[in-house]
């Protein structure tokens, strides 16, 4: 049985696939790039959505994971390019799968560490302590000269994926799309699972969860680390999209933008991040081309969305969320 939300989701997924393929066929590669951007931002936000949407953990520091993923990709690729050894004589790599693994590992581990401390707090304090950690990483990246500091780090040639020419925008898009869909599938499974149940219940009522015998801290910590890893993966892809990494990926604006994407699309919804990312990127692109004052109108549209479309775009399309 298909409910309205499922239909909206399928349409969104199909659109994200169809539009760039059509654009490519009509010789408009830029729209492919734009769609790739949507897919990657959606992936980053989907990572955050696991913590924020399901677990109610409003992390204002996910840019740290996004940026770490990006830097993992950038640093590995730079070393692969120059041949300078990185660690234990390893000279990095330009193979995407390895890079992804490293990016997820790095982001996940850092997420584990940050979560370990941050999850002692809750509510607004959690928002701020995650921000604090992200700011530390940010300032470190700005002033650490080895990999470009504030100027960032260029990846001269896009990294490779076995059997695919990643320099072709469509190929790279398809890779990103595949990763996004995999992540969303993972999200569906987790949400419906025992783990997801406990995580969502902990958001609604922490004491209740503890009194049935589930320690919320461990559940949340796991969710936070997994969420960080997914956002880190998105960061690695983003680095490859732009062929460039810089501390601005780590800035609090980025963290804020990820949150905005989720709310815009519909908090806790499977396709919320995708809907939000698509909307945001399209607004930014269309308005940016129309007027120099585009930020004003972007603000106006976002404001309209919060005030009049409760539950974000998907709330508008598919009505109130249901929890079995």
């Amino acid at each position: 049985m298909l409910n309205r939300e499922t239909i909206a989701n399928l349409v969104l997924a199909a659109l994200l696939l169809a539009v760039p393929l059509a654009a490519n066929a009509f010789g408009q590669p830029f729209y492919v790039t734009l769609a790739t951007r949507v897919a990657i931002l959606a992936l980053a936000a989907a990572g955050l959505n696991l913590a924020l949407g399901l677990g109610g953990l409003v992390s204002f520091g996910h840019a740290a994971f996004f940026g770490l993923g990006g830097y993992a990709a950038g640093i590995l690729a730079t070393h692969a390019f120059s041949g300078d050894p990185l660690l234990f004589g390893w000279t990095g790599t330009n193979q995407m799968p390895v890079i992804w693994l490293v990016a997820m590992l790095v982001a996940g581990l850092v997420g584990l560490f940050i979560g370990l401390i941050s999850l002692r707090t809750s509510g607004v304090y959690f928002i701020m302590i995650t921000l604090a950690f992200a700011q530390m990483v940010y300032y470190f990246a700005i002033s650490w000269p080895a990999y470009g500091g504030e100027d960032g780090l260029s990846i001269l040639v896009r990294n490779q994926f076995p059997g695919v020419n990643t320099m072709k925008p469509v190929s790279f898009f398809l890779i990103c799309y595949g990763v996004l869909i995999t992540a969303l599938a993972f999200f569906v499974l987790v949400r419906a699972s025992r783990f997801g149940s406990a995580l969502q219940a902990a958001r609604q009522n922490e004491v209740r969860v503890a009194t049935v015998g589930i320690a919320p801290y461990r559940i949340r910590l796991t969710a936070f680390a997994v969420s960080a890893a997914i956002t880190g993966l998105a960061g690695a892809l983003f680095a490859d999209l732009n062929r460039f990494v810089s501390p601005s990926m780590l800035s609090w604006h980025m963290s804020g933008e990820l949150i905005v994407l989720i709310i815009l699309g519909g908090t806790g919804r499977l396709f919320g991040p995708l809907a939000g990312a698509a909307l945001f990127v399209v607004f930014e692109y269309v308005l940016g081309g129309l007027t120099e004052r585009w930020q004003f109108f972007l603000g106006l549209i976002l404001l309209g969305t919060v005030l009049f479309a409760r539950g974000g775009l998907l709330g508008l399309l598919a009505g109130k969320a249901r929890h079995g």
């Binding site: 987790v190 419906a192 025992r194 149940s197 209740r208 015998g213």
Partner: protein, 249 residues
């Protein structure tokens, strides 16, 4: 005499200058309902909190089935078999009644670190949870979110959750509160049978229920147990009458 399931000795808890529980010792024997009564603010809920671990006692020991649990966290204690209800209902509001119970069943069955099997297709979870809802008479309301249940229904749901935990001992903080006369009657009957499963420490201001159910009663006043005894002994105790019962005896 059977070993007590739950045994408190010399529990002390202060909030600043206030002694909320003052050297409280009591126990809970298999098969019994032990009622804890006392004026408002006497420290009953504070004691329950200490047993469950949401508050840590300043001194004294708490044993469950012979094991010292005084230093464990809330979740661990409940896994060891403490089932409780709250004085003010505490549920996952967005979840349906069923999923609220399923959470307890899942915790009871073991690890929550299972990432892939959907709970709503997990018969072992659903069947047992439905059975619990049936026992408290909420089966028709299984799909309603907890936030939309009426006050009384929420109390029933809390009990269903405590049941699902397969507890060794129940701690019920004012389960009758908010129940209509009919509900109270049903619940009284229900608790009467529940004691076969595990003994109950019952905090309650509804004296009709207490007198009908309790095997033993302890009276807590200003954090201190001033009397313990059978229903008749307590009813007759003049100190209890002035401190708590008034003409209700």
């Amino acid at each position: 005499m059977a070993e007590p399931v739950l045994e408190l000795s010399d529990i002390v808890k202060s909030f600043g200058a206030l002694r909320a529980t003052d050297h409280v010792s009591l126990d809970l024997k298999p098969g019994e309902i032990h009622a804890l009564i006392g004026p408002n603010g006497a420290g009953k809920s504070t004691l329950i909190h200490q047993i469950c671990g949401t508050l840590r006692q300043d001194s004294g020991t708490i044993r469950l089935a012979g094991r010292d649990i005084g230093h464990l966290g809330v979740a661990e204690r409940s896994r060891l078999g403490l089932g409780r209800t709250f004085q003010v209902s505490s549920l996952a509001p967005e979840f349906s009644a069923l999923r609220n119970v399923m959470l307890a069943v899942q915790a009871q069955q073991g690890s929550s670190f299972r990432f892939f099997k959907p709970v709503m297709r997990d018969a072992s979870l659903i069947d047992r949870s439905m059975a619990m809802l049936e026992r408290v008479g909420l089966q028709d309301r299984a799909r309603i979110p907890a936030a939309e249940l009426s006050h009384g229904e929420r109390r029933q749901l809390e009990i269903a959750i405590a049941l699902a935990l397969n507890s060794k001992a129940f701690l019920l903080d004012e389960p009758m509160a908010g129940m209509g006369p009919e509900g109270s009657k049903v619940l009284t009957g229900f608790l009467d049978t529940l004691r076969q499963e595990a003994p109950i420490l019952l905090v309650e201001h509804d004296m009709d229920a207490v007198f009908a159910l309790a095997d033993r009663i302890s009276v807590l006043v200003y954090g201190r147990v001033i009397a313990t005894g059978t229903v008749e002994e307590i009813r007759r105790d003049p100190a209890v009458r002035t401190a708590y019962l008034g003409d209700h005896a």
